[in-house]
Amino acid sequence: MSRFFGPNGNGNGDGLSGRLERIFRLSGLVGLVGLGLCLVGVLFDVQQVLRSYLMAYLFWLGPAIAGTMLLLLIHLAAGTWGVITRRPLEAAASTLVLMVPLYLPIAIGLGQIYPWAGAEHGSEAHAERDDGEAVAEHSAEPEDEIGGVQPEYTLDPEGAAVAATDDGHAAGFNHKEIWFNRAFFFGRAVGYFAIFGLLALAMTRWSAEQDRAENPWLPTRRLAAISGPGLLLAFLTATFLLFDWGMSLDPEWYSTLYGAMLIIGMGLQTFALTNIVVTLLTDAGTFEGLVTPKRLRDLGNLMLAFVMLWAYTTYSQFLIIWSGDLSEEIPWYLERSAHGWQYVAAFLVIFHFFLPFLVLLFRANKENTSRLRTISAVILGVHVVDVYWLLAPSLGYDSPVPHLFDLPALIGVGGLWVAAYCFFLNARPILAKNEPKLVELLASDRAHASHSRT
């Protein structure tokens, strides 16, 4: 049984392999228990379980998607940090293998999740909120429940209110019927998985070839060659993926920045996760002095850059929609700033931006493994709240109180994800020993060491 894991010696030493295997088993077990609880929940409230599951799924899809993109980025243009983070990112990208079957519940329960597919979320909650000042101010005539006469995608009462007050809206267009045609939607989903699967496969395979090859030049060239076009393709694919799976929860609402904003959030999440792993590995001695404080600082700085980019995109979208105050756009923010959601938003401003930003400004916090790990863990945890804030209000969560099934779903998908991640992390050496940048780096380290001795 013990050799099931890392069967032919991955060069990482038994200590690390053993530890990863323990995590693999434990998290796999936690994952199964979590999903088991969700299955029990299906007996009571299928729709709620699907809502919780969707949020958990999109959270854990983040590292698989953004891992591939960051991997492409490090082959395109990265210094030392790319050498250090490469294998953890490859492991993250590989977890797509797990995320494909885990999409099935969403595909099956589409009609329970997406309003354009016929789902209804918390209609009483919506009606109740219409009494609230904020909404009344912005949508002229809040209407009550609407019957089936409306096209499927305008079932959202607020959307209908918009349609009632603004004849120009949606007049004569059938684009959403085309876009949300089920066959087309699933076809796109297959396409997203195919593109990310192929990119992740190419990156990990050629990386493995680079490890084995007598002359690593060819795989290295290939990795460099695919990185530019691959990143372009991945960014576009991820954008539409997020439009489809996230933004379409409010079929009336749209924002051109949405894709990029969520991709950056995913990038931050992945970076935080990778930093946790890298600092743990460093403490375990896996990198043997390669991860110097200065190089840790680079990782911290990159995370800082992501924190700032996250704030930048989030704020930009907010200011533009807030200032424009248009009836088809502002409801998205009204939902997210009432009934307690405003406190979640404030929490995000402080803990997703200000706190990490301030803490990461100081060198000492970035050069110390345990401090960097703590900061990364906080960011990762707070990012759960971010995803929750982005998605839950569209899923009928009237107030930010989590549902009973949210946690089982999160740790269910998460447990399996972590298990898969550990499996892939252990499948190969932590450092790609033939990577020219690593070779150069070690040579430079040796030269500096001998230089400072003299």
Partner: protein
């Protein structure tokens, strides 16, 4: 000797490479000299440490400047839009904080940048048009391609003869007396 206006301001030793200068600076410090200064045409890694300079306060100054700028920027907008002349524009609240953020940010950056520049110049004692070192002819290469070590007269260990001998022992390209 006049304590405030010495006749000999110090000794200036010239070196050809940055590595020589760092080595010489380390030895000078090991020998117990404290008022040592090194001059180079470009920043040399490890040189400041070699002459015993560890910590700059620039970062703290910049942080303070930025903080004050940010608070000041927001306060100004709040004062103008909420307290001094509240004006309803487009139905937006008087305290339109989402719209105040860009100006707050710009004020933060502006104040922090000024803090960085003025703080750096102030701590470095610049501008300083006259300095005794400029009297030494060789020193004009300090901004071009030579590296200099300077021991000032008010160092506790400074002695016109011994210091001279000590610096000579470091094999400099040239050794000059600096006169004010």
């Amino acid at each position: 000797m006049d304590v405030t206006h010495p006749e000999l301001y110090g000794y200036l030793a010239e070196f050809k490479t940055p590595e020589d200068l760092v080595a010489a600076a380390s030895r000078t410090r090991e020998a117990g000299y404290r008022n040592v200064e090194a001059h180079s045409p470009m920043p040399v890694e490890g040189l400041a440490e070699a002459i015993g300079f560890r910590k700059t306060r620039i970062a703290a100054i910049v942080f303070t400047g930025g903080l004050l700028g940010g608070i000041g920027g927001f306060a100004m907008q709040y004062f103008a839009s909420v307290m001094h002349y509240p004006l309803n524009v487009g139905g937006k609240p008087f305290n339109s904080w989402p719209a105040f953020i860009p100006v707050t940010f710009e004020c933060t950056v502006l104040a922090a940048a000024f803090a960085a520049v003025i703080g750096m110049l102030f701590l470095n004692g610049l501008p300083r048009p006259y300095h005794p070192l400029f009297n030494v002819e060789e020193f004009s290469r300090a901004s071009v391609d030579r590296f200099f070590l300077f021991i000032r007269w008010d160092d506790e260990k400074f002695d016109a003869e011994q210091t001279r001998t000590f610096l000579q022992g470091l094999n400099p390209e040239s050794l000059s007396e600096v006169r004010p």
